[in-house]
């Protein structure tokens, strides 16, 4: 079946990237941004065709609850060796459909915005090349049909993030030294790689136990996923789903900036603002959430990991919101806000509300992109100023920016009917009715309370940002104001479109007490059906019972209305506090409050000093260890080698006296040496052993065995000392030449003999060296006694040896396995 060529969706941006990075510098800016925006727009068109013309009919056909045949586009076999067969295949199902539309749609708007924002930059082509590269990699991430292909995109977006954070690599952010931007990029890459380490281990675990890394195939391996094993033989047992799920989630905490790996995201704000909007708000950072939703069939099997995800998500949401209270850099506030919102998404995924998690990804992409682009417009207008303390009063100067940002701020704060209200409320509702056997009820309740508290915080710090930026008097200095320039239409149009999204997208996911159909949820249902199918198969084996929603609470409409009202009330309280403290600029009440508890303020302002903590417990010890290895250990190893060399030299020097040029001595030594060598090689070893010993009985089997040698030797024996060779049978010498028959000697170095009469015998062995034609003989005495009884010390000469038994052992081992 010729399937839809999905590969064009990532390929178009890649082609744009190749053009801009290879030749962009030689072309005018117009060509650069036409190509760059053009390819993303092209990808958007292809995506729309794929989703609406190809996927949608299938979705309709499948109907509600039916199985949907996703579109799979096999491009070629990528890594195929041994048991591995990874195809470069793309998969379009309702989940990846949402993602590609967000990436290409919002991506296109941000590309468009960038043509205005970056218009003064000298490295125009490089910027757009990276941006296209990112878009392509992100599309690979969401379209990949297996974990390794996803990982290609996963690392690819990490690389672009690195390159774009350090885009202004020769500048430093405010108040820092020379290459701070580059350092921020490096930090992002390395922290992400720490997560990736866990990610690949998760992949290996899945591959080892399930034999595949393809999403569709994995979803059919419920049994394999429920297999228990003991990690590294440590004695406790976990399921494959649990171990792999936890590892992959650690990977997600890197990419999606969750505790404990969130520290890179605030620093990532060193990049140009459109980058922050595209990568660090709308798309890349949501990759972890996407991955968890994609693997919903794996996570539903492991309530403990789900609980972990929920706790991490809730904690991140709250802590990031708290840090956001005290930041003055407009982009830093938005960065912590992103971390906090990502925490919400994981909280949702952790209580099994995958659809709600992805819905928040979707709505968040609009309002957060709008907020970032708006803040970018402010920064652009104020010639690079990012400190909100030197803003204010911009409402009149930047009306479009002000209104679009206000709408988005209302959306993120969770005010009805803006998008954020619906997505956040759905998350809070899901948390409120969640069940999870591994979590105590009070913990589940406190997750809900944490979510509410974070919502309060969100409303507060977002309106703090809004008021400090737009209300009151302008606090910028005259110099900055002189350079003030309003945004062009290329920058405002994306803002307006995104703001429109922030207002309207919520209606796609109306709560079921309001509307009969939750469009977003129904659209995703074929993907989430994977999880339900797996649960139906092996759900009974999960201990404690699988996590999910409490059906009783779910049906309680009063409760749902009540909680909806509560979350709206909480948001309004947050706004009210912000209005009280920050309307018209930082008010005296705030200053008093800060003055009352300077330590607390300082701690929050310093982001709870987590960076410093990591510096002390990770980075510094690592550097010291490196230093010890390099300077001490390597020095010792090399020193030993040098000492060995010196020792040789010393021995050589001491022996130098021997080589004094005296020819006679050389000849004499040589002659002696030659003779010794000749004797050594010519005289074959002729020692032999007698088994059972030198005293034997009549009729007993006596075994004679000559010494083992690496030389090619032949043997003959005289056992009874009569001067005739007994073994092997002797042949007469050749009559004509008088040469001895070679059959007179045996190859086998062992021989067996039974003595018929008691007495003393001389046993003689003659050894002949085939190469050197030399011979040697050896004689030993044997005493033969009369037979005493039936006692037999006979040992088998070549019975089953230790080796054979060992072999059999391993064979049975194998069979058992």
């Amino acid at each position: 079946m010729a399937s839809f060529p999905l590969y064009w969706i990532p390929l178009l941006p890649f082609l744009g990237a190749a053009f801009n990075l290879l030749f962009g510098r030689k072309f005018p800016r117009r060509a650069v941004h036409l190509v760059s925006c053009g390819v993303v727009f092209g990808a958007l068109l292809v995506s729309m065709v794929a989703v609406f013309r190809e996927l949608y009919p299938r979705w309709v056909e499948a109907g509600h609850g039916g199985t949907l045949e996703p579109i799979v586009n096999r491009v070629y076999s990528w890594i195929s060796v041994g048991d591995i067969d990874i195809g470069l295949n793309f998969l379009l199902d309702p989940l990846s459909a949402v993602m590609i539309l967000v990436i290409t749609g919002i991506g296109f708007l941000i590309h468009l915005y960038s043509t205005g924002y970056m218009s003064h930059d000298t490295d125009y082509a490089r910027f757009f090349g990276y941006l296209n590269l990112f878009t392509g990699a992100m599309l690979v991430l969401v379209l990949g049909d297996s974990l390794p292909v996803m990982f290609v995109g996963w690392e690819g977006v990490g690389l672009c993030s690195y390159l774009l954070i350090g885009f202004w690599y020769d500048k430093s952010g405010t108040e820092r030294y020379g290459d701070a931007n580059a350092t921020a990029g490096k930090k992002a890459f390395i922290v992400n790689r720490i997560g990736d380490l866990a990610f690949i281990i998760g992949m290996f675990l899945l591959f080892t136990h399930a034999g595949t890394l393809n999403f569709t195939e994995l979803a059919d391996k419920a049994d394999a996923l429920m297999t228990k094993f003991s990690p590294l033989g440590l004695g406790f047992y976990v399921t494959v789903a649990g171990a792999a799920g936890l590892m992959l989630f650690i990977g997600a905490t890197g990419k999606s900036a969750q505790i404990p790996l969130y520290v890179w995201l605030p620093d990532a704000m060193a990049g140009p603002t459109p980058v922050s909007a595209l990568i660090h708000a709308a798309t890349m950072v949501t990759a972890g959430v996407y991955m968890v939703v994609r693997l919903n069939f794996l996570y539903v099997l492991t309530p403990a990991v789900m609980a972990t995800i929920a706790i991490v998500g809730a904690a991140t949401a709250l802590i990031a919101a708290l840090i956001g209270f005290a930041q003055n850099d407009i982009k830093k506030v938005l960065a912590y806000s992103t971390v906090s919102q990502l925490g919400y998404m994981f909280l949702a995924a952790g209580v099994g509300a995958f659809s709600a998690a992805l819905f928040h990804v979707f709505t968040h992409a609009f309002f957060k992109a709008c907020l970032f682009l708006g803040s970018g417009a402010v920064i652009h207008a104020l010639a690079g100023e990012q400190d909100m303390r030197r803003m204010g009063g911009l409402a009149k100067k930047l009306p479009i920016v002000r209104w679009t940002m206000l709408l988005s701020t209302l959306a993120i704060a969770g005010i009805v009917p803006f998008a954020g209200f619906f997505s956040k409320d759905e998350i809070l509702w899901s948390v409120a009715i969640a069940q999870n056997g591994t979590l105590a009820p009070w913990l589940l309740k406190s997750l809900y309370v944490t979510g509410l508290a974070a919502a309060l915080g969100t409303a507060f710090y977002m309106f703090r940002l809004y008021f400090m930026t737009f209300s009151g008097e302008c606090r910028a200095d005259a110099e900055t104001l002189a350079k003030f320039h309003p945004p062009t239409s290329r920058m405002t149009i994306p803002l307006i479109v995104l703001a429109a999204g922030a207002v309207t997208t919520g209606f796609l996911g109306l709560p079921h007490v309001v509307a009969k159909h939750n469009i977003f949820h129904e659209w995703l249902s074929p993907v989430l059906a994977q999880g339900q199918r797996v649960l139906a198969q092996v759900g009974s084996r999960i201990e404690p019972a699988a996590a999910g929603a409490d059906p009783l609470a779910q049906a309680n409409h009063h409760l749902e209305w009540g909680l909806m009202g509560l979350s709206l009330l909480i948001a309004l309280i947050g706004i009210a506090i912000a209005t009280r403290f920050y309307k018209g600029g930082v008010r005296q009440t705030v200053r008093d409050l800060v003055a009352k508890m300077p330590a607390v303020h300082r701690l929050v302002y310093d982001k709870f000093r987590v960076d410093e903590l990591y510096g002390w417990i990770v980075i510094k010890p690592f550097r010291v260890l490196c230093w010890i290895f390099a300077k001490v250990a390597d020095g010792i190893i090399d020193g030993l080698v040098i000492v060995a060399g010196q020792l040789t030299l010393f021995v050589g020097r001491s022996l130098r006296g021997i080589a004094d040029g005296s020819l006679q001595r050389y000849v004499a030594v040589m002659a002696v040496g030659l003779v010794l060598v000749f004797l050594a090689v010519s005289q074959p070893p002729d020692d032999f052993e007698i088994d059972p010993g030198e005293t034997v009985e009549v009729g007993q089997v006596v075994r004679f065995e000559a010494e083992q040698s690496t030389r090619e030797l032949r043997y003959r024996w005289d056992f009874d000392g009569d001067g005739k060779w007994d073994s092997p049978p002797q042949q007469p010498a050749d009559k004509r030449t008088g040469e001895e028959d070679p059959r007179n000697f045996a190859r086998d170095r062992a021989a067996v003999f039974r003595y018929a009469k008691a007495g003393k015998y001389a046993v003689r062995l003659e050894v002949r060296d085939v190469r050197w034609k030399s011979r040697a003989t050896e004689e030993r005495k044997v005493v033969v006694n009369e037979k005493k009884g039936i006692k037999s010390s006979r040992r088998q000469a070549a019975g089953p040896s230790v080796a054979d038994r060992r072999f059999d052992n391993s064979r049975t081992d194998g069979a058992r396995r």
Binding site: Y169, G178, T710
Partner: protein
């Protein structure tokens, strides 16, 4: 005859260059480039005539050489050596291109040395006679000694001597081992020969295997180099001229890992399996240690040299898993390392040509001045860091999967059961190399290329010249090709690897029955119980 032609090409090249009139070296260089490209083209004939479905030796040729000692000029090629031969001929033009600015005196002699080195490397990759292999192995030493000693910089005499002595000390036990094998095998079978294909049909008893493997492994481990036998490498790399470093990292080190795969492991399977847990532990130590030491170097070339220690740890780890995935990955990674580290040395050489220093703190902000060079450098770096989409990832992925899925069950009974989890732990620990690789490589790039220009000398640097770009382009093309579409490479490596592993398992089973006494033929030992050995092969495969 094809292989003889490939071996003869650089030899003839050396002669031609030697006969060129003495001048400023221009002719010698141009001739060198042309001839090395010609050699590469000739070597492509093995690729086009290579039978993908044949896992045995191809293009085999055996001519009696020293009949009195049963020494044959026996050469042949299979999927394991095919790409290494091609890597050698492929890198040579790149290497000579990189010598245009870094080697300015005795150019003619330099090119001759390079060609002789090439003969030695190619010969060692195709030799199927242990004596012949040893001859080629030692032949390589001389030109490399000269390249470091004459055209190097800094403490070049020290580095060259250290390189030669280290390698020689390692290879002497191997020679003793080879001769021991020759004598014992001859004594046991009456067939005195150094022929690899004959010797490999016998197994030595277990204790002999332990000693023989140790003797071979010492020689190869020094060449790889495995920690703690690595200390010659940073010195050799730092003092060698750019072309020397490229060839050293690109090809020479692979002879160590190739030696393990071709000789040490197949000839002594029982010993290999017994040492494997310890050797793979050492490989992992190498990965982590090499990376950590690389991170704190203040000399860019030393940093890349230590990164080689780390990368070759991966190669060792993959082969010790002794399954198709791991071993194929290991061979693939040898090629990857040749490209990526070769590229990194080219980049650092290009900077050295301009600034005559390798010290990191002398640079900074160079990308502003050298954007094209920066992009090429970045690509080599990402390839080295194992970014998916480029070649390094494919190799690392196969190695780690191979190691992770490896079950040491066929040594059960001998090693404590904790080793069953050993390979998983090893794979997990080795995977930290992925993080550490990013740490030191990005550190390197940031120090050299990012930040503002602090040192005024960097403000006037020229971007890469056409010649420099052309030295990089073949590398970059293959980095993408091998990363995006590895199939043509893998499908040629895999059949030989599969056969090798089946034979290895058989020989291992034979060795289990062979505790004492002279070497015996595998067929005699395994005999009728091949089904058992096949079952073992299955169990040990994954």
């Amino acid at each position: 005859m094809t292989l003889v032609a490939i071996l003869a090409m650089p030899l003839v090249g050396a002669l031609i260059v030697a006969l060129l009139p003495r001048d400023d070296g221009k002719q010698a260089r141009n001739m060198g480039v042309v001839w090395s490209i010609a050699t590469f083209l000739v070597s492509l004939s093995v690729l086009f005539n290579f039978d993908v479905n044949d896992s045995a030796m191809q293009f085999e040729l055996s001519v009696p050489w020293i009949t009195a000692f049963g020494i044959n000029f026996h050469v042949g090629l299979d999927g394991i050596s095919l790409w290494l031969v091609l890597l050698t001929t492929f890198l040579m033009p790149v290497v000579i291109l990189s010598s245009y600015r870094s080697v300015s005196h005795k150019v003619k002699e330099f090119i001759v040395a390079l060609f002789i080195l090439q003969v030695g490397m190619l010969g060692a990759f195709v030799a199927l006679d242990l004596f012949l292999f040893y001859v080629f192995w030692e032949v390589m030493l001389v030109p490399m000694y000269l390249i470091i000693g004459i055209w190097g910089h800094g403490r070049k005499a020290y580095a060259a001597l250290k390189f030669v002595l280290y390698t020689m000390v390692g290879s002497l036990p191997m020679l003793v081992g080879i001769i021991y094998m020759y004598l014992t095998h001859g004594a046991a079978t009456g067939n005195y020969t150094f022929d690899y294909t004959v010797l490999t049909q016998s197994v030595w008893n277990q204790s002999a295997q332990l000693w023989l493997f140790a003797a071979f492994a010492l020689a190869f481990a020094i060449k790889v180099p495995m920690v703690p036998l690595h200390t010659w490498l940073p010195d050799a790399h730092t003092q060698a001229p750019t072309p020397g470093s490229v060839i050293l990292a690109g090809v020479l080190l692979k002879l160590g890992t190739y030696g393990f795969i071709r000789f040490a492991i197949p000839l002594f399977p029982w010993a290999a399996a017994s040492y494997a847990p310890y050797l793979s532990g050492l490989a992992v130590v190498g990965i982590i240690y090499g990376a950590m030491v690389a991170y704190v170097q203040d000399d860019a070339k030393k940093l890349v040299a230590y990164s080689s220690v780390s990368h070759l740890g991966f190669v060792m780890l993959g082969m010790l898993a002794m399954n198709v995935t791991g071993l194929t990955g290991s061979i693939y990674q040898m090629l990857n390392h040749g490209l990526s580290t070769g590229g990194l040395f080219l980049a650092i050489g290009a900077l050295y040509d301009r600034r005559h220093t390798h010290l990191l703190d002398q640079f900074g902000g160079v990308w502003k001045r050298m954007p094209v060079f920066g992009a090429l450098f970045m690509l080599c770096l990402l390839s080295s860091a194992g970014l998916p989409g480029l070649n390094g990832f494919v190799g690392e992925f196969m190695i780690l999967v191979g190691t992770f899925t490896h079950q040491r069950d066929y040594v059960a009974g001998r090693v404590p059961s904790v080793w069953i989890y050993h390979s998983r732990a090893m794979a997990g620990a080795a995977a930290t190399g992925v993080v550490l690789g990013a740490v030191y490589l990005l550190h390197l790039f940031q120090k050299l290329m990012f930040g503002p220009i602090i040192n005024a000398k960097n403000a006037t640097l020229r971007d890469a010249s056409a010649r420099e770009i052309w030295a990089f382009i073949p590398l970059v093309v293959f980095m993408f090709w091998m990363g995006l579409y590895p199939k043509p490479f893998l499908e040629r490596i895999e059949p030989s690897v599969k056969t090798m592993i089946v034979q290895h398992q058989q020989k291992f089973a034979a060795s289990l029955r062979h505790v004492d006494g002279p070497p015996k033929r595998v067929r005699e030992l395994v005999g009728l119980s091949t089904s058992a050995s096949q079952r073992l092969a299955m169990g040990g495969g994954r």
